[in-house]
């Protein structure tokens, strides 16, 4: 490999040797230091490569041994440079191209933000813009550690951040912190309220004055356990209040009703294989559409797929040149009928999906009933669901409320 590169840089000649004493010519030439490679015999003729500087020596030994040496071609870098000397504008073009590439790769053309879940992407890009980093900004002169520190200070959810610019790509890798558990200050007065309408099935109070018992019906927002404790009585004239942070675990029977409607007809899509392609060229912030190859104006129904391609030198050097291909696939819609049984299956599937989303896995479902009503055009399904779930929520008693009540006393 190295030898090939060296031969290319030094330049080499492909020669043809003919005559009666070719072997003698070769032996004398190599004894004088001429190096041959890729020698091949073809009948009476003999082909080989030698370096440019040895060509005159080869001619000398050819004359001495009575053979003939002919140069079939000159190759390598010196030959290319000789050609380029005659093509000045190509040389200038090449230089301008290289200069253009150096110029274009001096800017940030892509910002990748990895590892965010809670922190908003746009918040981070807005913050980076404040720091002078945006698409099209000069990529040199950033203090990576300073940006990382500033990000940690700005976003409390960031546990670790790494910022770097590789090529024309800025990469921000973030590890978000674990959501801190809410610290409840039990020294402040608070009530326990119901979060849902329910029938209480279990109540265990550690602190506070219970307002309901098991079997009672409670509405959402109602106080189940009060943080205000009534001391004495008005009749005896020693009525007073004390406040505490009510703590109670309350489970209730919650009733849900869900309605679903499944149409008994649907449209089946069939693609016609007619595709309309549109191209948009994006250069930096400027973009323009190329005329569509097949306009597809007569498409009544179609599905659109967009594909984006960005020019890039390797992975780390994206350039400000991209094109977006918009493909519109024409389709024909056929009206089809759906049987009641299939519609019921759909309804059950939708119901189960919604129950999983709304009820969650922690709550116990004690009863589930689905009532179907067949209509002309659709099937309606009503789901009645009973669950046992925790319904308590701590709600602070407003200080103003406490003070007012104390003043009333």
């Amino acid at each position: 490999m190295f030898l090939k590169v060296w031969n290319f840089l030094a330049g080499y000649v492909k020669i043809e040797v003919s005559g009666f004493s070719v072997e003698r010519f070769v032996s004398q030439a190599i004894a004088a230091g001429v190096i041959f490679w890729d020698m091949r015999r073809d009948g009476a003729k003999f082909y080989a490569h030698i370096s440019r500087k040895h060509f005159s020596a080869a001619e000398f030994f050819a004359q001495k041994t009575g053979t003939k040496v002919a140069a079939l071609g000159f190759y390598g870098l010196p030959q290319i440079l000789t050609h380029l000397k005659r093509r000045l504008f190509l040389l200038i073009g090449g230089f301008l191209f290289a200069a253009g590439m150096v110029f274009l790769t001096s800017f940030v053309w892509r910002i990748d933000i990895e590892g965010t879940h809670r922190i908003n992407y746009t918040d981070i890009t807005a913050f980076l813009e404040q720091k002078g980093l945006y698409i099209g900004s000069f990529r040199y002169g950033f203090d990576y550690r300073e940006i990382e520190d500033a990000m940690r200070l700005q976003f409390s959810d960031i546990a670790w951040v790494s910022f770097s610019i590789t090529g024309t790509r800025a990469v921000v890798s973030i590890a978000e912190s674990i959501v801190p558990t809410e610290i409840i200050d039990t020294s402040l007065p608070a009530d326990v309220v119901a979060v849902k309408d329910a029938i209480i099935v279990y109540i265990a109070t550690t602190a506070g004055q219970p307002q309901f018992r098991a079997g009672d019906v409670v509405a959402a927002g109602e106080t189940i356990v009060a943080g205000q404790l009534v001391l004495g009585s008005a009749e005896e004239g020693n009525l007073s209040y004390a406040y505490t942070h009510a703590i109670s675990e309350v489970w209730g029977r919650v009733y849900y009703t869900m309605d679903f409607e499944i149409p008994l007809t649907y449209f089946e899509k069939t693609f016609t294989n007619r595709v309309s392609r549109g191209y948009t060229i994006n250069i930096g912030n400027f973009s323009f559409d190329l005329p569509r190859i097949f306009r597809g104006d007569d498409f009544v129904y179609y599905e659109t797929i967009e594909r984006r391609w960005q020019a890039s030198i390797g992975e780390n050097y994206p350039l400000p040149l991209s094109h977006t291909t918009t493909l519109q696939y024409e389709l024909v819609r056929h009206l089809r009928n759906r049987s009641v049984d299939v519609a019921k299956d759909f309804a059950i599937e939708f119901a189960n999906r919604r129950i999983a989303e709304e009820i969650g896995e922690d709550n116990e479902i004690v009863d589930k009933q689905i009532v179907f009503n067949e209509g002309e055009r659709s099937l309606t399904a009503q789901v009645f669901l009973i669950t046992i779930e925790r319904i308590d929520q701590t709600q602070s008693i407003q200080p103003a409320q406490v003070i007012r009540e104390e003043n009333d006393e």
Binding site: L3, V22, E23, V26, S27, Q28, I30, A31, A32, G33, I35, F36, W37, D38, M39, R40, R41, F46, A48
Partner: protein, 93 residues
């Protein structure tokens, strides 16, 4: 009277001192890589070359390499590299 053999003494001395013979006596070194390549060091030039056989002069005789589509891949005043389908390598008497 016994003839003075300069080479014989040199050879015995090299053997006794365990010196490399290719360097001290200029003996050819032949290395083969499978049946595809053969490298000959310390040669004294090629005597004959065709696609079917190559004869190489050395200090201890002529080395003949026989095969098919033989190619002198590289040749300097110190070594020769031959590529091709090598079938036979033999010393000519």
């Amino acid at each position: 009277m016994r003839r003075f053999d300069k080479n014989g003494i040199k050879r015995r001395l090299v053997t006794a001192l365990e010196l490399p013979k290719d360097v001290t006596l200029g003996l050819p070194v032949v290395n083969m890589m499978g049946g595809e390549e053969i490298f000959v060091d310390n040669h004294k030039g090629i005597l004959e070359y065709s696609v079917a056989h190559i004869r190489i002069a050395t200090s201890v005789g002529v080395l003949r390499v026989c095969g098919e589509e033989l190619l002198l891949r590289q040749m300097t005043h110190e070594n020769i590299a031959i590529a091709g389908k090598i079938e036979k390598v033999l010393w000519e008497a």
